[in-house]
């Protein structure tokens, strides 16, 4: 075995730039190509096994019970009547251990536990387990719960928002002040002071949250639908009070997460407790209404935007003050101003986050927490400022495109905002845009809008293993997940490129915490983090091949399963030996993220039609131009952006969770009345990528892309509505009733 340990580790901490990449010198030619998903055939043939689909012997079916009060104490639960129903095995109410709400993503502590006191309508309080799903669901509905309402409930945002308090410092500061905002704003030659609101939203992933819990000799295997199995297993172990080594999570296929599956949700703990108590495996799938009621919502936001500028457009005062909501005692707050911190210049800044405590579903991360809704305030305010100055909105953004981070005073690792705007404008035909309310085709008022896109880039500690087998094929394994994004495919492409293998020769294993730990899918960090781990593992395997061949690694060429060097060409199978070669790669963030501001950028362009009779808004076309470092797979990257832009259409036009202010109940908790855009709402979307490499980000030179497509998409649509109609609607979503009164009389 040429003196190498079987699984030695190639670790890299990003303390230095990494200008050379094997992805640039590889000759296999698979990286960046628009390859089909390697997991696609399994998904379309139904052979990809999702969490709820594992065929486990002797499984019992659990259905969760939802509280029908918004803020109350449970006095008693009449389990006996339900236990008498034929087929019911048990009703389990572990008041102290059940989790009140989902845990936030990446946390390693237990979620808030204890459900005897109800804090929001629909909180999960029990699990009924039966021999069939149907019996369990019926029994869950029939379970009688006696409540004692609590009189300090806060169900109504408007009635409680005066009680908002500064958010605790977290991912970003709760309150941030720089320079003298008040004075600069007061003295600014041009200023706007407007308030935008966005409602609560739900991720509405196609697959509901689902867990199957199987105990074996004190160790738990949980088949779950989770985005971050490594930290989810830590959360679950702590919630259950068992050692971390005793919990294994398997999440091989996930039907979308969009943030709602970052942390563990109530079904996992309930299934695990029930399975332990009953001594048999238990499956728990949340009902669609429970996914809405009892996982996470994106908080509603109220955003006061104050921008002060010089006549030439340069911003001198930038204020972005938000109020969001969450349950009492939760640290998370929607980081509305996260992008505002670095998107535009301006010496005098105030970026504040206040939180009001409501008895509503937990708020947490949903696709691009912060930017997705914060950029509605920021980018619509920029549109208003441009108009107040009499400037083209693209020109205004270019004037305020800073040379360095305006707060941290560090350079950007790579930033192509202006180029995105310019290329997009050219391609979209921005010069055809007319003054507001001027363009009409039949009953449709037509307008164009633009907005910047930005999303902070993150690298998270992650590991992956690459094995090269005696037959010349390879396996890549990691606790990373593919939540529909394309992780399986891009990780296979990275390994194939570096090892010189056709993509078919690479087998992927993801979503199992028995494999090397990874940060999972969240915050757009998955590809860069897990991809870099694969890079490092493959790099080490490549070094071993060079050694086996007796050449220097830099003199080795790998292509189509052959090692070429020193005027020789040898099949890999001859070099790997009978035990194969393997290595673990591990990436960690380092000084580079402190020395540089790292983010992805882009520009969104939208053209909408507004029906002059009814106020219906239809998006006619959209273009997104994005610069996110190396594109690892042109097809899956494009799909990520299409999905993000579609979310943006939803934010602008249709998506809104409605809480009944009398009870805190979420009234539209299903896919019929919570309106995500359907195909007919989504026109041809165009996506362009700018060629970019980021040597400060990671060895694969890629930045986050999963959330870039949503960040800025909604305000482009909203600004287009203004251009079409001359009406500013500052309350999302822009449903027709908000336009109706402002349309021309018939």
């Amino acid at each position: 075995m040429f003196g190498f340990g079987k699984d030695d580790t190639n670790a890299l901490t990003m303390n230095q730039p990494h200008p050379d990449s094997l992805l640039d010198t590889g000759v296999q030619g698979v990286i960046s190509k628009p390859l089909d998903r390697v997991d696609g055939p399994k998904k379309v043939t139904g052979t990809a096994t999702y969490a709820a689909e594992y065929a486990i012997e002797n499984i019992a079916h659990g259905v969760l019970v939802s509280a029908t009060q918004g803020h109350a104490k449970i006095k008693s639960i009449d389990a006996d009547a339900v236990k008498a129903i034929p087929g019911v095995i048990d009703v389990i109410t572990d008041y102290d251990t059940f989790i009140r709400n989902s845990q936030q993503g990446g946390e390693t502590s237990a979620p808030t536990q204890g459900v005897r006191t109800i804090d929001y309508f629909g909180e999960i309080i029990a699990i009924v387990v039966a021999e069939s799903f149907e019996v369990a669901r019926d029994a869950a509905k029939r379970l009688k719960v006696d409540y004692e309402p609590l009189d300090d409930a806060a169900f109504d945002y408007e009635a409680n928002k005066d009680k908002a308090e500064p958010a605790p410092d977290g991912l970003i500061k709760g309150h941030y002040d720089q320079g003298d905002f008040d004075k600069a704003f007061e003295n600014a030659p041009v200023k706007i002071d407007v308030t935008y609101t966005t409602p609560s939203q739900n991720s509405a992933a196609m697959e509901p949250h689902a867990s199957i819990a199987v105990w074996d000799d004190g160790a738990l295997t949980l088949y779950g639908a989770y985005q971050m199995p490594t930290s989810d297993a830590q959360q679950l172990a702590k919630a259950l009070g068992v050692a971390q080594s005793k919990v294994r999570i398997i999440s091989r296929y996930i039907g979308g997460g969009f943030g709602s599956k970052l942390g563990i949700a109530p079904e996992s703990v309930a299934a695990a407790i029930a399975a332990k108590q009953l001594g048999r495996p238990v499956k728990a799938v949340m009902l669609r209404q429970q996914v809405f009621d009892a996982t996470v919502r994106r908080s509603n936001t109220e955003q006061r935007m104050r921008l002060g500028a010089e006549a030439g457009g340069r911003i001198v005062a930038l204020g972005h003050e938000s109020i969001t909501s969450n349950l009492p005692d939760e640290d998370f707050f929607e980081p509305v101003g996260i992008g505002t911190h670095f998107l535009y210049g301006g010496e005098n800044r105030r970026i504040n986050h206040d939180v009001v405590r409501l008895n509503w579903t937990l708020s947490g991360s949903m696709r691009a927490p912060g930017e997705a809704v914060g950029m509605v305030g920021m980018e619509c305010a920029m549109d208003e400022l441009a108009e107040a100055i009499g400037m083209d909105p693209i020109a205004l953004r270019k004037v305020n495109d800073p040379q360095q981070d305006p707060e941290l005073k560090v350079p950007y690792s790579s930033r192509n905002l202006t180029r995105s705007l310019e290329e997009g404008a050219k391609h979209f035909g921005w010069d055809q845009r007319q003054a507001p309310g001027q363009r009409r085709e039949g009953d449709w008022l037509i307008g164009m809008g633009v907005a910047a896109a930005c999303r902070s880039n993150q690298l998270q500690q992650s590991a992956a293993k690459v094995e090269l087998h005696p037959d010349g094929s390879a396996t890549v394994s990691s606790a990373m997940t593919d939540i529909g994004t394309g992780s399986y495919t891009i990780m296979a492409q990275i390994a194939a490129e570096i090892l010189g293998l056709p993509i078919e020769k690479v087998t992927m294993s993801l979503g199992d915490t028995n494999d090397p730990p990874a940060a999972g899918s969240g915050g757009s960090w998955g590809a860069a983090s897990a991809g870099s781990a694969v890079y490092l593992a493959a790099e080490r395997v490549r070094e071993k091949l060079a050694k086996a061949m007796g050449v220097k690694a830099e003199d080795l060429t790998l292509k189509d399963g052959m090692a070429i060097g020193d005027n020789r060409s040898v099949p890999l199978a001859e070099l790997v030996g009978k035990d194969g070669l393997s290595a673990i790669g591990e990436i960690k963030p380092g000084q580079q993220e402190k020395q540089f501001n790292q983010a992805s950028y882009g520009a969104h362009f939208a053209e909408v039609g507004v029906n002059v009779v009814t106020g219906e808004v239809r998006v006619r076309r959209m273009l997104g131009v994005f610069a996110a470092g190396r594109v690892l797979n042109a097809k899956t990257a494009r799909s990520q952006c299409l999905g993000g832009m579609t979310f943006g259409i939803g934010t602008a036009l249709t998506e809104e969770l409605i809480h009944d202010p009398r009870t805190g109940k979420l009234v539209n908790h299903d896919l019929a009345e919570y309106h995500v855009p359907v195909n007919a709402d989504v026109p041809q979307l165009e996506v362009h990528f700018l060629d970019e490499r980021d040597i400060h980000a990671n060895p694969i030179h890629a930045k986050g892309i999963g959330e870039l497509g949503i960040s800025g998409a909604a305000p482009a649509v909203v600004n287009a509505i203004y251009n079409a109609t001359g009406v500013r609607v500052r309350e999302m979503p822009v449903t027709l009733d908000k336009l109706l009164d402002h349309l021309p009389a018939l």
Binding site: K141, V613, R618, V667, N668, D737
Partner: protein, 327 residues
């Protein structure tokens, strides 16, 4: 879902007989009933499966109309060449509803009997007089964006969700039924539905076990036809307001008008005063607004659905312009 018995009917007669047993419900496509059973909004003791009864034909009538079997799927009805040619308002209304998959399953008879999509009706955790008589109406004083502005009562402000039934109301369809005793009835669609009043749980005049077997469409009225549906997204959303319109103009005057509305009331809505305001008039905006005045004279909003009043006016006026414009 509560456990239930299941029986497949082998004839209309046995279906009607078995359907008369308390707790029995007919099931055809099940696109609405199954959802409601899962939520335990509906808790039948027995499902009588009528889906294999021979009620799937669309046949010509002597009066130039069509007789539609109650089990004709919505997709087939929308795609029937005779419907497309003679009743485009119906074809358009059908295609404006639900999704392709649902239209493949949904039956003509079942579509007429859809339950309201009121948020609170769908949620047994909240009071609802329609679901649980006497428990109260959560929509009044609550969220009512999608609910009714016409024909409401203090007990219920639900809307009927069908698009198809709105077109059928404009076409003056007749609903043919068979009772458990074998008697057949022909019920004008205008007499079929009931206002909620103090008994919102009773939505139509069907008696226990009475099975819809056919829908008769009389010969299409003179005039141009259209169906305009206004909704919160471009597809797969119930109507905020919809208009089924058939209007004839001759010699510069409106000679006939048939108008029915969705999204406004507890039944596919028709008000003959609206049509009377139009017939004999020149097709002007003044006449159209007079028609809207007649329609909305008793309209009442409940907060978040107030916008439906101006929206209805605008949609009606624009639809009438479209139906009467020359060329």
């Amino acid at each position: 879902m509560k456990l239930f018995d299941y029986a497949r009917a082998d004839s209309v007669a046995t279906a009607a007989r078995d359907g008369a047993v308390p707790g029995a419900r007919f099931i055809a496509g099940g696109t609405n009933l199954l959802d409601l059973m899962k939520l335990q909004v509906e808790t039948p003791e027995t499902l009588i499966d009528i889906s294999r009864l021979p009620l799937t034909a669309i046949e010509e009538r002597e009066d130039g109309g069509l007789t539609i079997g109650a089990l004709v799927p919505n997709s087939d009805l929308a795609a029937d060449p005779r419907v497309i040619e003679r009743y485009p308002v119906l074809s358009r209304a059908l295609l404006a509803g639900a999704s392709g998959q649902l239209r493949n399953k949904a039956s003509t008879g079942g579509n007429l009997l859809q339950r309201t999509r009121c948020y609170y009706f769908y949620d047994p955790a909240t009071p609802c007089n329609k679901r649980e008589p006497g428990s109260g109406c959560s929509a009044i004083g609550g969220e009512n964006r999608i609910l009714a502005i016409l024909g409401t009562s203090d007990q219920c402000i639900a809307t009927h969700p069908s698009d198809m039934a709105v077109a059928m109301r404009a076409l003056e369809a007749v609903i043919v039924t068979q009772k458990p005793d074998g008697d057949r009835r022909r019920i004008a669609i205008g007499d079929f539905y009931r206002l909620p009043g103090a008994t919102p749980e009773i939505e139509n005049v069907l008696e226990p076990g009475e099975l819809i077997t056919h829908v008769e469409l009389p010969a299409a009225p003179e005039g141009r036809q259209t169906y305009r549906k206004v909704r919160d997204r471009a597809s797969y959303a119930f109507a905020l307001v919809s208009v089924a319109g058939i209007v004839a103009v001759e010699g510069g005057r409106i000679t006939a008008a048939h108008l029915a509305f969705g999204g406004l009331g507890p039944m596919p809505w028709r008000n003959e005063a609206v049509e009377a305001a139009l017939v004999g008039q020149e097709p002007t905006d003044a006449a159209f607004h007079a028609a809207a005045d007649a329609l909305l004279a008793n309209a009442r909003g409940f907060g978040s659905n107030d916008f439906k009043i101006p929206l209805t006016r605008r949609t009606l006026v624009a639809t009438l312009r479209e139906l009467t414009q020359e060329g």
